[in-house]
Symmetry: C2
Subunit: 622 residues, 2 copies
């Protein structure tokens, strides 16, 4: 049975301005996402299952249940990778016909639930001899794993109505709720080391209507700041436990923990409307976007602690920018967008998808980046799997759920946040509208929205922040459109009515704030929602020697066919000599020799032979 | 009893071109080093003793001996900090009158030796319940601690003839020698996780003439490369155990481990003349200096693993550049200089001392940097101590031994490597010469060397690599001097003969190799052997907004008095607007407003109010 499926179900959230569309309401038929989602269903998800089996991640559950010989193998949070894979399969089931994956998933769920203890506790690492160590070290990701169990269970339940995983997730949630909470209820007021359970509990609440889960999520956000959790290497701020969340006005510490926490706090706000939460969230978002985010949308400046850096600490070659952190940013911005309808969140969500998440996955769908540096000497290549394999199933679940990020509704309006060729049907959302989107976006800026089911409703089309000079034609009538906002068209639509949005797609030179000293005198190149880079495969001269002409004439061309359908850019520039020898030498002006630069989309790098790559390019001829 | 004291005693090394001077042969009476060495004796060493006691580092020995209640406290390698402090006191005793430190040191030695087991084993962490865990995990620094024990013991023995620590060190060395070595001798062929014991064993050999220690040192270097040691986070290359040392042609992995290993291998080469070692050492040195070293001489690009980066991976704000790694570079270059007499090693040694080691210590002598970034927002400040406190006593021992790096001799020539006002007397070295050095170097380029004991001998004066246009006047007769070499004067010296070396001290703009993309379009400023930086305390505009004029006229001025006697620089430049708000914006040419930049020596930064600092400055007006 296929059901009405939401990924983040704000349909009944009291403080959400927007409601989501069911996942099946958006059908993608474009050249960018549709093939990737197909590959996700047919390559990525099956191969990830194999990796999970081969690394004994699924056997761990059977062993914890006593159904198989052997001890737990791997990292203490390996359960979570299985849960994320299951969540991906649960969502994928709604949009793709993959009966084999469903059969496997049911078997995996059976293994998981067999490891659940009678008190509801479920974690394969803390089994057998380690059963006594439950809930003693809150840096061992017990709640994190529980959160991913809840998300997986909700995805499966929403997708096909199967309650097996959901019942197990509720059992674990009930166990946690009975154990942790305010002291005056006789519970333990614990700060968990890795946020995730907050947003999961809110989704579990949305799926079950059990208010206790929302209350517990709120508690988990609110308990932080009591200086409870640190270790020999990292202090409280690494764990976002140094100040109460409502007083936290920066993004800090471990990047994924910070952004999962912010997403969870935003979920709580969507349900409770707690203004003190929203003030903190707003301050964090501004700090992130104005001081601590890479131009790709990537987050995490430091390998040490996979951490966000100080203001303007954004080194390019040693950027950490974990794929999971970018996904967390998508999750957070989606929640903020649903709450507010503000275009800036959709803008960052789209930008992050194309430029910070998608670099994490190979075109083949079978190799992953954990880190996404903005320049590299060619040594950084994708891997088929990792010992700490959080990123691969995270990309997979995002791709399976991608359609859910395209559009929303409010009571009388269809909001389109990002443009992907295909159809949008709002049936089941409380608004009865349907449109067809025809476009080659993100490679072309013309988007045709044709009405396929008429009626009296509003249509909001997002105009990206970079789209100065955008125009809208409504049945042939032209209107200007303000960047970084939604243009609104309200009318009695007839089938066949057409709105054409034209977004200027001229390549752009971007500079960083002067305080990002690494990028002084350098520019990044973008076109539309796509960040570009230079890669060695397209150049004879070392990538590091390429400078771009500030006054270049641009050529927009079909890029190397090995990278699939996309647009590459040609620009004029210079190349400076790169002699072997002295690392430091007396400064002299080097005018360089003329050269033509080829820029490819940053998300496509490292899909050909190994070679250097660079996003921030020294600018000449100012 | 004060004895003839060498720090690295190559007096009998078969393959050393140069011999060291006794520590007491060099008397420093300058304004840079003499006050710092005085502070070292009177502030740094006493306060470090207090820290060692307060953190129970010394109590650990008494507890291991069963003479005091309680368990081991702290990190498993805390013994080594006490040993390095002892080595510093042992050397300091030769040059400074500090009877209180001597009394304390004897008591500390007594505590240490009381913890030695009957089989010679000595390590306070592996005592009591952990005694059974000895030599089971070679990432737990047992050999590293043993090496520092040997260095401390040798320093004390050379300084005052006291054999108590030396006997203990020999006992531990004998225990290790009986346990580890070639399989065909029935021993264990183990790669240790943290090199240090190699150079220590060679020094112990030099102090005792026990050939077994040299043989064991050679074995310890040679055993590496068998892929024995890694952990969950770091692979074999982090431990320099991925290829045999003689095949290692890069510097790689944990910076301090790499450079201690290279120094130890160089010590082995000095004794054995093994050409295959020297070939590897040469390749490593070239890789370091041409591709993996900061302009400060600092080493270690990554916080993650305190590691050396890939070629040209030299981020400024997230530089690790551990103070200990710079000290290790001094130790390595000193050994290479003694072996070869090549000026390039003295050049890098001097540069590293001023620009990579000395930033690690506050002017007060009581606070330390562990990391030495090349740009910072003002948040990075020195600390009075660290949980992992390797750097503070490392700086202390280097300062106590500083005089030993000034000059060497060969059979008929006095080599002066670096210029510090004071006197040099070679008596006891096999050459009978004495000179007085009068100079305000490193702030002034004029160096007068006056003969105070005549005779027929050669005088070699180093001309630094940056000193194009240097001249030498010998009793009034002018001669040109080639940079990066030694100028040689041989004659029958009379008392009062004078040689005046004039080193041009015009400020210099330096650029980095184009492959260091962070530094494209940026320059570093140096004058003489001193690297400069801009610090917020001297500027109204944000440091990050300051650009330097490529055609600036320079003013060399007395710098802020709070920083002691030194020269600061004024340069013309521009300041660009640094608006709050957008982190990334459309690129536009910003000509900036005129401003005067004040540059202070990099080693003096962070001695005033907290504020941003920057070494690599964007260059304008090319």
């Amino acid at each position: 049975m296929k059901r009405t499926t939401y990924v983040v179900d704000t349909t009944k959230s009291l403080h959400a301005l927007l409601r989501p569309l069911p996942l099946q309401g958006v059908q993608l038929r474009d050249t960018f996402w549709a093939p990737r989602i197909h590959t996700n269903a047919h390559v990525t998800l099956p191969s990830q299952y194999t990796h999970c089996e081969e690394t004994e991640r699924i056997a761990n559950f059977r062993r914890a249940a006593g159904r198989e010989e052997g001890e737990f193998v791997g990292l203490f949070f390996n359960d979570s990778d299985v849960y994320k894979w299951l969540e991906a399969v649960g969502s994928n089931d709604v949009i793709s016909d993959s009966p084999a994956l469903q059969i496997i998933a049911r078997s995996v769920v059976a293994d998981i639930v067999s490891a659940q203890r009678s008190d509801g506790y479920l974690n394969s690492y803390f089994s057998k001899a380690r059963s006594d160590e439950r809930w003693t070290n809150f840096d061992l990701h017990e709640m994190y794993c529980a959160g991913h169990l809840m998300q997986a269970a909700v995805a499966i339940y929403r997708g096909n109505g199967d309650r097996v995983a959901l019942d197990a997730a509720c059992g674990m949630a009930d166990h946690i709720d009975a154990t942790f909470g305010p002291v005056d209820q006789g519970k333990r007021p614990i700060t968990d080391g890795h946020p995730e359970i907050e947003l999961a509990l809110v989704e579990l609440y949305r799926a079950t209507n059990n208010q206790r889960y929302l209350t517990l999520a709120d508690f988990m956000v609110s308990v932080r700041g009591a200086n409870q959790i640190r270790n020999k290497v990292f202090d409280y701020d690494y764990y976002q436990d140094h100040v109460p969340y409502r007083d936290l006005d920066v993004v800090i510490g471990h990047a994924v923990r910070m952004l999962y926490l912010a997403a969870g706090a935003t979920d709580v706000w969507l349900e409770t409307g707690d203004a003190s939460l929203k003030r903190a969230i707003d301050a964090q978002w501004l700090n992130l976007t104005q001081k601590r985010m890479y131009v790709s949308g990537g987050i995490g400046s430091r390998w040490h602690g996979e951490a966000i850096g100080d203001d303007y600490e954004l080194p390019n070659d040693t950027a950490y920018t974990e794929t999971c952190a970018a996904i967390a940013s998508v999750m957070w911005n989606w929640r903020l967008l649903q709450g507010t309808g503000e275009a800036r969140y959709a803008d960052l969500l789209e930008w992050t998808l194309y430029n910070a998440v998608m670099p994490g996955l190979s075109l083949s769908g079978s190799e992953y980046f954990y880190q996404n540096p903005l320049s590299n000497n060619g040594s950084h290549r994708r891997s088929a799997w990792f010992g700490c394999a959080c990123c691969p199933p995270n990309v997979a679940r995002l791709l399976a759920q991608l359609g859910s990020y395209v559009a929303s509704v409010d009571n009388d309006t269809l909001w389109i946040h990002t443009y992907i060729q295909g159809s949008i049907d709002t049936r089941g959302s409380g608004l009865d509208a349907a449109v067809q989107v025809t476009t080659d976006y993100p490679w072309d800026g013309r988007i045709r929205v044709s009405v396929t089911r008429g009626g009296q409703w509003g249509l909001k089309l997002r105009v990206p922040s970079w789209a100065s000079g955008a125009t809208v034609l409504i049945n042939g009538e032209r209107r200007a459109a303000q960047p970084d906002s939604y243009v609104t068209i309200r009318r009695a639509w007839q089938i066949g009515d057409e709105v054409v949005l034209d977004l200027p797609m001229n390549p752009r030179l971007m500079s960083a704030h002067p305080a990002v000293q690494n990028n002084a005198g350098r520019v990044a190149v973008a076109r539309g929602p796509i960040l570009y880079c230079v890669e060695q495969a397209d150049h004879e001269q070392p990538v590091a020697s390429l400078h771009i002409d500030a006054r270049t004439k641009w050529q927009v061309v079909d890029g190397p066919s090995a990278l699939g359908h996309h647009k590459a850019l040609h620009a004029s520039g210079t190349t400076v000599a790169t002699p072997e020898g002295a690392l430091y030498a007396p400064w002299r002006r080097d005018a360089g020799s003329p050269v033509t630069l080829t820029l490819i989309p940053y998300h496509l790098w490292a899909n050909r032979e190994a070679g250097a790559m660079n996003v921030w390019i020294t600018v000449e001829n100012q």
